[in-house]
Amino acid sequence: MTGSSVSTTDLNSVRKVLSVNAPQSIAWRVFTENLGSWWPLHVYKIGKSPAVDAFVEPRVGGRWYERGEDGSDCQWGSVLTWEPPSRLVLSWDIDANWQYDPDLKTEIEIRFISESSDVTRVELEHRKLDRYGARREEMRRIFDTEGDWGRLLAMFAARAEGTAAN
């Protein structure tokens, strides 16, 4: 992940790296045990009812899912690798229409790397995006950000220019 990740753009994956001012054990715990406390459930959820919490079941084969305010659960995928406090692989089985499809199986690998007693580097890779088939690029743009920025600025420029010309 270090170094050349930018030059070799893998169209089937999105990679993110961030530095978190927290010990590895806490980073792991917050990610896995307190998922519902930070996941942007108001934006990223799939159930019909508003989501109020989210969970990762702490074992290989466990589910990760959101809980709606009506008590219903909506699964996002499964735990593929469970190696506390350093490595977690989850499947993301939400299709391009934001519906659960247990056969989709894109993968999210999250590594928690201890840089010091108070700093953890978190590396995330969302891969196997080719499983979105024809909609891979669209989904890659959603998971990544640059595409959206570029599109927004282009849209904004076009609108602003159109308005100025009137």
């Binding site: 010990p23 806490i26 990223y44 959603i142 159109g162």
Partner: protein
């Protein structure tokens, strides 16, 4: 998504951008907002209505006056639309993990 797109549309107009900028300095009446602008007061009211629909302006009634101020919802929606899925999610995670680490340090 809809709110973010309405927000973009609303800010695509130069007069509305100017009006929105004026709202940033605090609560203003239509008269105050229109001062010095080359558009009529009804036109300013119309622009304010669009800003309101786009989640960029809020209005409250004080006696006979309508007072306008910035509404942050439109900007928040725009921000959410801009950030990619993982950028937004990981930033939220970083924030939560760092808060938890700070709480833990206090406990020690």
């Amino acid at each position: 998504m809809l709110l973010a797109e309405r927000t973009l549309d609303a800010l695509g107009d130069p007069t509305r951008r100017l009006i929105f900028k004026r709202l940033k300095d605090g609560n203003k009446s239509v008269e105050e907002i229109a001062r010095g602008l080359s558009v009529s007061r009804p036109a300013v009211s119309q622009h304010l209505k669009v800003l309101k629909t786009a989640g960029l302006a809020v209005v409250r009634v004080e006696g006979t006056r309508r007072i306008y101020a910035v509404d942050t919802r439109g900007l928040t929606a725009l921000r959410g639309w801009l950030d990619g899925f993982w950028d937004k999610t990981l930033m939220a995670f970083k924030d939560a993990a760092e808060k938890e680490a700070a709480r833990e340090r206090e406990r020690r």
